[in-house]
């Protein structure tokens, strides 16, 4: 039993905490997880403070398998609530309960094609990890990163280093192109040479990128973000409507995802009641059926 548990969950020590622009980063000594982690996967962290109960999921940003610490993994995060605030207060040698690596990874291209990586905000983090892998496989990598403001563009320097070309967009024009990522990728698709798009960022951005890719008949893999309770596939909290076998099914972002085929996600149906499935039997719906948000 201890051996089984050790495979996926452990208490890991903080090796480093640092600030990266508007974001925070934590590096953990986690040789087992470092060994198994792949780009696109995530870890689920037990947090304390503010009455928090559930684990918090974070994409894996960087992995080191060697060196004095045997193996480390790094995550990047934005402080948005009590869980992330608690994490931002950790210091070296603190310990955190981590489960991972979890979820489906970014599939590597089967052919020599150009890869376009599109990231929004901290969504750039797992893409930079992927860029490294793609470069090692001698694939051409182009990167587009977008954010609201310059300090929320994650690690532009590394993006430049890991790509043949890197384009940045900010919504306030404080850095790079004034606008959104979708404003620039359309042109890149037209220029040709791109065989696959990988994207990570806010859901509306993923939806927009997927639509553009679909229009140009380009494969698109997106890492989605959906609220999770268990993170391991047992509770059905994190579902995304997805086309499968000619049908639409609610697939779990934590096991069938977080990386999904962007052309199969039914973006318009997220948060909508599926047709023909109104009557349910949870205690939840015993409520006043007239009340709908």
């Amino acid at each position: 039993m201890a051996a089984t548990a050790g495979r996926c969950g452990a208490t890991e020590e903080v090796l480093a905490y640092r600030r990266i622009g508007a974001y925070h980063s934590l590096t953990f000594v986690a040789p087992d997880m470092a060994e198994r982690a792949r780009p696109g996967q995530f870890v689920s962290l037990g947090v304390a403070g503010g009455g928090t109960l559930l684990r918090r999921p974070f994409s894996i940003y960087a992995v080191s398998r060697h060196g004095p610490w045997a193996g480390t993994i790094e995550i990047v995060f934005d402080v948005v609530g009590p869980g992330t605030r608690w994490l931002s207060g950790l210091v070296k040698h603190d310990v955190v309960d981590i489960v991972g690596p979890l979820g489906r990874l970014f599939p590597m291209p089967q052919q020599q094609v150009g890869c376009l990586l599109v990231g929004g905000g901290y969504g750039a983090a797992p893409l930079l990890y992927l860029a490294q892998r793609l470069q090692q496989a001698n694939l051409r990598v182009d990167i587009v990163l977008g954010a609201a403001t310059q300090d929320r563009l994650f690690n532009a320097i590394e993006a430049k280093r890991l790509s043949a070309s890197a384009v940045f967009t900010t919504e306030d024009g404080s850095y790079g192109t004034h606008g959104r990522v979708t404003d620039v990728i359309e042109r890149m698709f037209k220029d040709g040479g791109i065989g696959v798009v990988y994207a990570c960022g806010p859901m509306p951005m993923l939806a927009a990128v997927s639509r553009v890719a679909q229009r140009h008949r380009i494969a698109v893999q997106v890492a989605v973000e959906e609220a999770m309770a268990c993170g391991v596939g047992v509770c059905m909290t994190c579902v995304v409507p997805y086309r499968r076998d000619g049908d639409v099914a609610n697939v779990r972002a934590c096991v069938e995802g977080p990386v999904l085929n962007g052309r199969k996600v039914v973006w318009d149906e997220i948060g909508r009641q599926p047709v023909g499935d109104v009557a349910t039997g949870d205690t939840a719906t015993a409520a006043n059926p007239a009340l709908r948000p």
Partner: protein, 304 residues
């Protein structure tokens, strides 16, 4: 139950070194730790975290006659020491479950309690028919905390007569003991338990979630797409202890499977001291998938 032996260090006890067996009427389990329906799926996902075969039993996610896609997202909202969920009983339907999931559980050799959920009394009966004589299935848990479409969507377990009707139909066809899973959202839970037992239930599972609601004050909208949802987690543990106590007082011989906010060994012990025969753990699966066996060992130290 006997008093706690202070020398019995929980960390040194192995669950197979102590006799942890519990009898739930005719049903004997190797140990008192079972899963709570709905946060364990059928176990495949949890297998990598611990040895499922060492659980007293697994209680699987409620099955319905037809596959269900469930409710829209957001399906979950975290609340103080708890969470609200409105999943909508997403499940593959009984037929597919029997074809793909049950054989897998049978191969593990773990006793399976199948939770069933219907929209009508007839649906419960049909579900029980599907389960007749299925090897490995040791009990049925009738999740009657569901709205009855034939009665203005009033939850079956909120009315003694509807409870009696469902349990009668299920026990009539079932070949294994039947447990009724009750909602605490009632005035007299012991009365409902009495109705279930009078209709043939072997015992009761207490408690299902409490109906709750949370609103995002910035957007002024409910946090759940379904508006309301079931509250679970440590926040509801005192309600579970109370419900178990009340039913145990009224029906001292009826086996109770206790659940609701169980996180630690002491929580299991608390439910058992209130009168439960075994403890269902859900939040631990969510928060700590690897933690179950520590609890089984600890419970041994505490309640034997």
């Amino acid at each position: 139950m006997t008093a706690v032996d202070p020398r019995a260090g929980a960390s040194r006890l192995r669950s197979d070194q102590v006799d942890l067996r519990v009898d739930l009427g005719p049903l004997r389990l190797d140990n008192p730790i079972v899963t709570a329906s709905g946060c364990f799926a059928s176990g495949r996902e949890i297998e990598r975290f611990f040895d499922i075969a060492r659980l007293g039993a697994v209680v699987v996610k409620s099955l319905t006659l037809e596959p269900r896609g469930g409710l829209p997202t957001p399906r979950m909202a975290e609340t103080a020491s708890g969470m609200l969920n409105a999943i909508g009983l997403q499940n593959p339907g009984v037929e597919q479950w029997l074809a793909t999931e049950l054989p897998w559980l049978q191969a593990l050799g773990v006793p399976v309690v199948v939770s069933i959920a219907g929209k009508t009394v007839a649906e419960y009966r049909m579900l029980a028919e599907y389960l007749r004589g299925q090897p490995g299935v040791v009990a049925i848990e009738a999740n009657i905390s569901c709205p009855n479409v034939d009665d203005r969507n009033v939850v079956f377990a909120c009315r003694a007569d509807a409870t009696r009707e469902v349990i009668q139909q299920v026990t009539r066809v079932a070949t294994v003991p039947v447990f009724a899973k009750l909602t605490p959202d009632v005035t007299d839970i012991a009365g409902i338990a009495e109705a279930a037992v009078a209709a043939g239930a072997t015992g009761v599972s207490l408690i299902n979630t409490l109906l709750g609601m949370a609103i995002d004050v910035e957007t002024r909208r409910p946090k759940l797409a379904a508006v309301t949802g079931g509250l679970s987690g440590p926040a509801i543990k005192p309600v579970a202890v109370r419900a178990v106590h009340q039913v145990h007082q009224a029906l001292p011989d009826v086996p109770i499977i206790g659940m609701g906010g169980v996180r630690t060994v002491t929580d299991v012990a608390e439910l058992m001291l209130a009168g439960a025969k075994c403890g269902g753990r859900r939040h631990r699966d969510v928060r700590q998938p690897a933690g179950r066996h520590r609890a089984a060992r600890g419970a041994a130290a505490l309640v034997r």
